[in-house]
């Protein structure tokens, strides 16, 4: 029987709840593992889960500097979609949405995946043309997409000021109905528990301070809890990839670390039941199940490792929200915070073998890493287990920049602040 079910709830309710087990053990590090995954965030944990589940590799440790899920997996705005233009991204993110659709069942952990749809608003006729093109590209490979008229949008989202205060009228929108949101912490905990129950060790408060090497080959990690040897070392540390790779002697990468701010308002009664984005600027907003409006905009746009941003972006995001939903203008902000993004030079991720023998790299998520969590782990686990990429991540190499094979969804070039 599943560990969490209506029967286990009832049984524990009648016996003062003594029988629940911790979701994961707190083991001491073993001297050697088959695979060590550096980074206990969403992508590291899902990698551990799929290594155990899909490939039967269970002699695995996840090494985390702090506690599991303290980074961007708990800092994002929880949006999930696969409305991409370029085929490399389409296939990868669509695989992710399909994994999301069965994730609660697969993990026996309610990740509260809610397919409430994602509506991109077009605020100019040319933007609507562009959305129609993207929608057609999506439908061409079997992803759902729907071009909505102004009348349809009015009926679908009554709270929206369809004229944006007269400045940026809405011309239409691109809707993906299978897109949605999920409860981000549950994703981390569900993957951690699933991996733990299959024998993976979660090593928290265990900071990597260096790599063990045998010539060129990486043969383990040096940590604050001692040396751990490993046949394979996988790195999934998002914004701190550069710092970790410097320990391995790699000083330059096609990655810059930037801060992305996110915001949540006080709780409101049900107000909107979708994810909606602003076309004339950059804003995405949804309402959480607790009632808070969860939203964010652009990255601050300068290199930083500080998990806090500056006020110009706050002002920008607030004014866009108030232009879209004048009814929210007097709602109070509850919290804002920042997370460090691993911005790649083309806006697309990197999931690859190397760059050194014995090493595997997962990075470059820009600010779209949350929706990728299942597919990222699934593809990374495949890459680690078989020493070659799955077709879904074959294009996401590290050397694509030098080979002229960039995957630049927006055509912005190597300027991370614009992706």
């Amino acid at each position: 029987m599943a560990e969490y079910s209506v029967f286990s709830l009832l049984r524990n309710a009648f016996s003062a709840q003594p029988d629940w087990k911790p979701a994961w053990r707190k083991p001491d590090p073993k001297p050697e593992y088959d695979v060590v995954i550096v980074g206990g965030g969403g992508h590291g944990l899902s990698t551990a889960y799929y290594l155990a589940k899909e490939h039967g590799i269970t002699n695995v440790a996840v090494v985390e500097r702090g506690w599991l899920g303290q980074g961007n997996i708990g800092r994002n705005t929880t949006m999930i979609r696969s409305n991409y233009l370029l085929p490399q991204n389409q296939h990868f993110y669509e695989h992710s949405v399909k994994l999301w659709e069965n994730l609660s069942h697969d993990l026996n952990y309610n990740v509260m995946f809610s397919q409430r749809g994602c509506l991109n608003l077009a605020n100019s006729p040319s933007q609507l043309d562009d959305f129609a093109r993207r929608g057609n590209a999506m439908r061409h490979v079997g992803i759902d997409a729907e071009l909505m008229s102004v009348e349809q949008i009015k009926a679908f989202l009554p709270a929206l000021d369809i004229n944006f205060g007269g400045r940026f009228p809405v011309y239409g929108g691109l809707m993906q109905r299978r897109a949605g949101t999920a409860r981000h912490d549950a994703v981390a905990w569900g993957y951690a528990r699933g991996a733990d129950r299959r024998g993976v060790d979660m090593l928290e408060n265990c900071e990597v301070t260096g790599f063990l090497r045998d010539g060129d080959r990486i043969v383990g990690v040096r940590t604050t809890r001692g040396e751990i040897r490993a046949k394979k070392v996988a790195v999934a540390v998002a914004g701190h990839t550069g710092q970790l790779m410097k320990m391995a002697g790699i000083n330059r990468l096609p990655i810059e670390s930037h801060v992305l701010q996110a915001f949540v308002s006080e709780g409101l009664k049900p107000f909107m039941d979708t994810v909606v984005t602003f076309g004339a600027g950059h804003l995405y907003v949804t309402q959480s199940d607790k009632g808070g409006m969860v939203f964010g905009g652009d990255i601050d746009g300068y290199n930083t490792y500080a998990q806090r941003g500056n006020l110009p972006i706050v002002e920008d995001v607030m004014s866009e929200l108030a232009a879209m939903f004048p009814g929210l203008a007097r709602v109070r902000l509850l919290r804002s915070w920042g997370g460090i993004m691993d911005m790649s030079m083309d806006g697309s991720p990197i999931i690859t073998t190397g760059p050194l023998p014995g090493m595997y790299l997962n990075t470059g998520w820009c600010y779209g890493g949350f929706k990728a969590t299942p597919a990222s782990g699934w593809c990374f686990a495949w890459t680690i287990a078989r020493d070659e990429p799955h077709p879904y991540n074959a294009a996401f190499t590290l050397d694509r920049f030098h080979r002229g094979l960039v995957i630049d969804e927006k055509g912005q070039g190597s300027t991370p602040r614009l992706h």
């Binding site: 000083n251 330059r252 990468l253 810059e256 290199n303 930083t304 500056n310 110009p312 002002e315 602040r417």
Partner: protein, 100 residues
């Protein structure tokens, strides 16, 4: 974040545009060395700590600036013109709130 422009004195971040990492050396424009151009275009040191970078005072005097700023604390330790400006004297404007 306040940036002290050598012309205009301390101004709000909103007036400035980030122009990127200054730890890169652009190859000679006549160079046809593909590898050198690739490194210049795509590879970054992504420094943790004091970071050399370019900014433009796009909402002010439009000067291009080279700064050193900590990527951990956002503290700015130096701001100068990208190209030295003959005859320019450093700004004597007081910081907002400082004693006259």
């Amino acid at each position: 974040m306040l940036i002290t422009c050598p012309y205009c004195g301390p101004r709000d971040l909103a007036e400035f545009t980030y122009q990127g990492d200054a730890n890169r050396a652009r190859p000679d424009p006549a160079s046809t060395d593909q590898a050198a151009w690739n490194v210049y275009t795509y590879d970054r040191v992504n420094t943790l700590g004091d970071h050399a970078e370019y900014w433009q005072h796009s909402g002010g005097c439009r000067a291009h600036l080279k700064m050193v700023r900590s990527t951990l604390t956002h503290a700015i330790s130096s701001v100068e013109f990208v190209r030295p400006h003959p005859g320019h004297k450093p700004s004597s404007r007081r910081k907002p709130g400082a004693a006259p």
